[in-house]
């Protein structure tokens, strides 16, 4: 069954122009999101995951950043046709696509109450009185499981815990009836029990409000449990994509395999050693030709040096990979 695509990103390119040269943070990235689907975008820090999502809402700071090309299709429109500061773009932000950020403690304005901030966003997107907006806000806080919502509306962000603030941001997205929620490392700054709560909350939104969710993360444990599909990013490109099951059970790209090997597993053999990926992600300036992962790769062939591997489909499912390795070697 072919599901409806609520978001489709095609050949997105975003660069930062620094004094030392162009940094291709997002380089020809394409992905899509179905209705009521959770996808994960995975990769180490500095792979362009967040920049990709910021580009979707055109929140890249310019200068130095600039979206150089591609298409972002949402509700039949290409968002890149709108200017970043246009009315149309602002209407999408929050009410069409909402973002939840990594650092809950710094993502709300410290000098305004939760209620003031929530109602301002609500009134930006829906015509209603201050009082109605307040009620919508209280209802949204209750919907995300915040106790004493009335009371909490009068709190300042510093009076709340990190997990609570994440919920407030999620509530904002609900209050504005966002179709898509982009959660940028939603759990990184939280402790483990809160992490699970936040993820369960997001999961429940998919059911209740037919929301679609993009989770940006480096936490593969999170991916396995909640997402339907996974995109693995490296050096500004998607290097492997497919159903979560395929990626976890049959990872193809040495990078994906490397990421999986560093995940500790409680149920598994305790003797298994965690294998870190050697080195660090490359700087995205003046990348040499060929595969960007080759300096850290354990199975480099001659082809990797000269030719950039394009995404190709492998297997019967929608499993794509950008690697020169052929099947036998990869499965070995």
């Amino acid at each position: 069954m072919e599901q409806r695509r609520v978001l489709e990103v095609k050949n997105l390119k975003t660069s930062f122009f620094t004094p030392t040269g162009e940094v291709k943070a997002v380089d020809d990235v394409s992905y899509h999101l179905h209705e009521q689907e959770i996808i994960a975008i995975v990769g180490e820090s500095g792979c362009g995951k967040s920049v990709t999502q910021m580009s979707v809402l055109q929140l890249i700071q310019s200068p130095p950043g600039k979206i150089l090309g591609g298409q972002i299709l949402f509700e039949g429109k290409n968002l890149l046709d709108y200017a970043p500061k246009s009315q149309e773009m602002r209407r999408i932000r929050g009410a069409g696509i909402a973002m939840i950020f990594q650092e809950p403690m710094t993502s709300l304005n410290p000098v305004y109450t939760i209620g003031e901030q929530l109602t301002e966003v609500i009134r930006t997107h829906t015509k209603c009185s201050r009082k109605d907006a307040w009620q919508i806000g209280v209802a949204a806080l209750e919907a995300v499981g915040i106790p004493d919502a009335q009371e909490r509306m009068r709190n300042y962000p510093f009076q709340m815990s990190g997990g609570m603030v994440q919920r407030v941001l999620t509530a904002t997205a609900i209050a504005c009836r966002s179709k898509i929620i982009i959660a940028d490392e939603p759990t990184t700054a939280l402790d483990v029990t809160t992490q699970a709560q936040v993820m369960e909350l997001l999961l429940s939104l998919v059911e209740k409000y037919k929301t679609s969710i993009i989770v940006v993360t480096h936490n593969l444990g999170l991916v396995t449990r909640y997402s339907h599909r996974v995109y693995v990013m490296y050096a500004g490109k998607i290097i492997e994509a497919g159903a979560t099951e395929d990626i976890l059970m049959h990872p193809w790209h040495p990078y994906t395999r490397g990421l999986l090997e560093c995940v500790p597993n409680l149920t598994e053999d305790k003797e298994r050693e965690l294998v870190p990926i050697q080195g660090a992600p490359p700087r995205l300036q003046n990348l040499p030709p060929g595969c960007a992962f080759k300096p850290r790769c354990t199975c480099v062939s001659g082809l990797c040096r000269d030719e950039f591997p394009t995404l190709r489909r492998i297997g019967p499912n929608e499993h794509w990979v950008a690697c020169h390795l052929d099947a036998e070697v990869s499965q070995a």
Partner: protein, 316 residues
């Protein structure tokens, strides 16, 4: 918050008391006899002695201090030795003049300084930012009296736009008051303006890069609200500190500026009183200036709480 304000007022009283003690001691340590200076060297020793007794200057210092402070509570500031009038009358005449120039100078500095700082931050690196940065750097480094003299030379003597000097009360002839006030107000304001513009610019730039500004934008908040509601309120917190510090710079500046523009306010009276060793005048002027400074700092402390809930709630 109320407790906090009461506590701050009590501390303010202590500060003013210490200032009074300090200025009293300094004046009496300084060599020079005020009565002799006022009466001239032709006066006989007996006459001088008689005046001293009238003014209680022959009593022990501690007693003199107590008499002075006691008088203050009855609204008596003492008698000016040089002017032969009560200090209260002198203050009544001169204080409004200084206030009528000093308050507009502060308001001008705050509005224009903060405004220019915001403009500078929003158009960072553009020509307007560079012009404002240049003006505020020059403003911070230019002596006020020099600016006054150059101003008089260009705008009063050269262009004949404004009167050279003097003061007219606003309720007497408002247009003339304005004309005469432009240059002195500008000179008094320039240092405060310069540091406010610089502080507002840098704190605005810092706030603009904060996560919550990104959040506001990511939820479709209009750019106007992002800048003037979300960013500005945070950016103004350090600016308030500067306002508090700069109030005394404006007051201090008025001493010089009044000299340059020949304005018969507190400043000119204070400077001449110091050279005349006019004890009661100096003591009263310094005390009043310190009262203004302390009051300004009190307002700043309260404003902190208004702008920053973290401070307000921590104060309980």
């Amino acid at each position: 918050m109320i407790n906090f304000i009461i506590k701050r007022i009590l501390v303010s009283f202590v500060v003013v008391f210490l200032v009074s003690l300090f200025v009293f001691s300094i004046m009496h340590i300084l060599p020079g006899d005020p009565v002799r200076l006022a009466m001239g060297f032709e006066a006989t020793e007996q006459d001088v002695q008689r005046v001293r007794e009238q003014l209680n200057l022959n009593k022990p210092l501690v007693e003199q201090y107590v008499l002075w402070i006691g008088g203050l509570f009855r609204g008596e500031f003492g008698i000016s030795i040089a002017y032969h009038r009560t200090v209260a009358a002198l203050l009544q005449e001169r204080l409004p003049r200084t206030i009528n120039l000093g308050i507009p100078a502060m308001i001008f500095a705050i509005i224009v300084g903060v405004g220019f700082g915001i403009i500078s931050a929003l158009w960072r690196g553009k020509w307007i930012d560079q012009v404002i940065t240049l003006i505020s750097t020059l403003g911070a480094g230019t002596p006020q009296f020099w600016l006054g003299i150059v101003g008089i030379y260009i705008f009063a003597i050269g262009l004949n736009w404004f009167p050279m000097q003097g003061y007219t009360a606003p309720n007497q002839d408002f247009a003339l008051y304005l004309k005469k006030a432009v240059m002195p107000v500008f000179c008094m304001a320039i240092v405060m303006f310069a540091s406010l513009a610089r502080q507002t610019r840098s704190s605005m730039l810092e706030v603009i890069n904060q996560d919550y500004i990104r959040t506001a934008r990511a939820y479709g908040i209009s750019e106007f609200s992002v800048i003037f509601r979300h960013a500005l309120k945070n950016a103004l917190i350090p600016v308030i500190t500067i306002i508090g510090l700069q109030v005394r710079v404006v007051i201090g500046g008025s001493l010089l500026v009044e000299q340059v523009f020949n304005i018969p306010g507190i400043g000119t009276m204070l400077t001449s009183a110091v050279s005349n060793r006019d004890y009661f005048v100096v003591q009263s002027c310094v005390l009043i200036i310190s009262l203004f400074t302390v009051a300004a700092n009190l307002i700043v402390d309260v404003l902190y709480g208004v702008f920053d809930p973290r401070i307000r709630l921590a104060r309980g």
